[in-house]
Symmetry: C2
Subunit: 457 residues, 2 copies
């Protein structure tokens, strides 16, 4: 969230003077996301000193645009009864996220202050595991019945929508709360001239749904594919549980993109934004990964120490080490990224594993031959004084074969790892991590000296 | 797009028998995205043989879910008059994209067959540069006037919406077509009981807009931040030009994520999906980048050849080369990714450059000292037979100092490059490319041997 501190003195003055009317007006003057920008820099108690004067739905909307760490600090510091009231007005998915990060004692004090219905809603949603559709969904949506007329449906919308985020998709359920259809607000607006039409005759019946226990990425994929505004979440018996809305999907897609990029660059997850996070928090997140990578790369030292004799005999080999190493890392991360994205976009499935293997074996060979040719040329052109007695042709063959083999190895490992990680229940994107590149480095050096031993020693 | 070939024989039979009714029914039975899955595998002429029997708006919807290369092949192969008619029904942003990839002669034949209004709309939209908001927007949205009542607005919506994608945001313009406000369908539904209310009294006036010549990422950021369904696009004089809808933003975000991941892994852009693309197309896209990286990495050979004498004198240095190289690459890509994401999310702006520089200088030092300590330890524990006479303490100091300096260098270069690329008008994500890592490798080797020369030779 960018910040905009120019208004902070005025806000602090309003609080000092307890100017209730101005605070009320400030809260409703702007888009809630902008209100939050203007308040950035205030302490949680100051934020609440202003927000408590807004109308409850307005306060809830503004509150929901704060970063989660600030939300939690407000919840923990403000008077319990006021916060319980606010929580009742929050979207059902947001409040569960916040309460799960809040101090357990505070939550224990807040729960009895809420209405029974909100309480049981929170308990139900908390049960879904992180990263599932159930954990992302909101239970705030409009339920209609198939035998309603358009007029009755509009009345029902008016009754239900006070705290409801989206009225653009209206879900039709039967007596057992099974999802049976969907009408869009667009359809209602188009048929206003025929107010006695039954919802049954307007509704779409073949709905695309996700199950609450499915990975949230499934919901993201379906919403992106079908251009939906929201997707309904059902249980195994097709009971309607909730919906995931387009804005949550967008946040999800952004989060996953950041997560993927961070993992590719070995950065631990960070809650706060770059310039706001304390120096030593960022340092900790970075130094841990860099040190681990550094330590893992030490294995190259061990492997090379093992080949110390070869290195002493054919000194020119040392000059090709960076080249050899980078080939494995580059071809591996190329293959890993291609397969990871193809998995994420649904272009490759687990059952395609043999097809991918065959494809990448051939690709690794085709790529390897090309790199090998360049390597051969470079080695063949090594100046005499650097060769210092090593056989030019044999050195060239060594470099050519090494580059080809390492490229083949990197490509196949890079392509198979995302599928392997997925099979084991991990994130396929882990294959693009520099740890995999480090592993390929070590194997690469081993291949290099083994080939060199055959041809040159 | 995943494919579903189980229905292809039936579809081919329908075409062979010219079973118009069944083709008509097939086109409206499913969600258009699913219809496209079922048709995948048909030739463009076969696809059109089916689609031409659907109602025009249905055909247009299905058509818009095909990949662009198939769309273009259909446009180029089907009868001109039928395609001109289809194009008139396509969303205004989609049809411009398609026509820009279509054979120029075909476009020249199609344009006169369209109505003057569509023709000038296409000409106007084609004028916006790729990647701008103007190029992403659609001109299909509902225009209202401030002095309309709710009843009149609903009638106007009914009149305008036949080909309009979204009725959820309705834009209020004045006589000069300046954007003056926005009403949501939600507001209309909530106020149906007061049909004489004026739009003026409902509409929101402080609107967040983007200019047509701004980068489309600005629109993506605003829509994600404010949870909008669409964002209006205006010109410099606040004339209302069009809107960008949430589904286009979602596609954009996905595209950018794929693009970023590809660039980090040095894969050229690809139009087709992984398993559908021909082998040699993928090979070309991959071998080009791998060869370029390989060639760039050859610079390490040149630098090391320059230090051949040092390498011969202190042979143990060779064993530390992979370690030294990986340190630069890892710390550089870590910093580059952090700053690139922070730029993309709006957490860091161009004016923060000095703050980032100071931050990363300190961070590079703090990280470097940590890695240097590990390096010192490892070097100090080198077995005697590998040291072969090199001074243990001086070697340890050399490795420690080298690791620290390279980490500092990688971190600062990695952090500054995204800002530099952005200033020059390039994509900041280019800094995470392996080419930058290769550059850091080369400099790293230079630092290594320079330090070694001072302490060991």
């Amino acid at each position: 969230m960018p910040t905009n501190p120019i208004y902070l003195p005025e806000l602090r003055e309003m609080i000092a003077e307890n100017n209730v009317e101005e605070m009320y007006e400030f809260c409703k003057a702007l888009h809630p996301a902008q209100t939050v920008e203007f308040m950035d820099g205030l302490e949680p108690v100051e934020i609440w000193a202003i927000l408590r004067h807004a109308e409850k739905p307005v306060a809830a909307e503004i509150f929901s645009y704060f970063d989660e760490d600030i939300q939690v600090r407000i919840v923990e510091s403000a008077p319990r009864d006021e916060i319980a009231d606010l929580i009742e007005h929050l979207p059902s998915d947001d409040r569960v996220d916040i309460l799960q990060s809040t101090d357990k004692d505070v939550v224990a004090e807040l729960m009895p202050l809420m209405e029974a219905e909100d309480r049981s809603d929170i308990q139900r949603l908390s049960a879904f595991a992180d990263g599932t559709c159930g954990a992302e969904m909101t239970t705030d949506f409009v339920r209609l019945r198939a035998n309603m007329t358009i007029t009755e449906a509009l009345q029902e919308i008016g009754r239900q929508t006070e705290e409801i985020e989206t009225v653009y998709y209206l879900y039709v359920v039967n007596e057992a709360d099974h999802l049976v259809g969907l009408v869009s607000a667009k359809q209602l607006l188009h048929n206003l001239s025929r107010p006695h039409t039954l919802i049954r005759d307007l509704m779409k019946r073949d709905l695309i749904t996700v199950r609450a226990d499915e990975d949230r990425e499934v919901a993201a994929r379906e919403v992106a594919k079908f251009d939906f505004l929201a997707i309904p979440v059902v249980d195994a018996n097709r009971h309607m549980l909730g919906i995931i809305t387009h804005d949550d999907i967008m946040d999800m897609v952004q989060d996953e993109a950041t997560e993927d990029a961070y993992r590719m660059a070995a950065i631990g997850p960070m809650e706060e934004s770059y310039l706001n996070a304390p120096f030593w928090t960022i340092w900790k997140s970075r130094v841990m990964w860099l040190s681990l990578l550094f330590a893992a790369e030490l294995a190259t030292f061990t492997v090379m120490a093992h080949f110390d004799a070869e290195l002493s005999t054919v000194k020119v080999l040392a000059l090709f080490i960076p080249l050899v190493i980078s080939t494995g890392g580059n071809s591996g991360s190329q293959a890993a990224t291609l397969i990871t994205r193809a998995l994420a976009l649904g272009e490759v499935r687990m059952r395609d594993v043999l097809r991918v293997l065959r494809h990448e074996l051939l690709m690794g060979l085709a790529l390897g031959v090309s790199l090998g040719a360049i390597g051969f040329l470079r080695a063949f052109l090594t100046p005499d004084h650097i060769l210092s007695g090593t056989n030019r042709s044999l050195l060239s063959v060594t470099i050519c074969l090494t580059a080809s083999l390492i490229c083949l190895f990197g490509t196949v490992v890079g392509a198979m790892l995302p599928l392997g990680f997925k099979r084991l229940g991990f994130d396929p994107g882990m294959a693009s991590s520099p740890f995999v590149a480090t592993f390929v480095d070590v194997v690469g050096i081993f291949i290099f000296f083994t080939v060199a031993r055959i041809f040159l020693i």
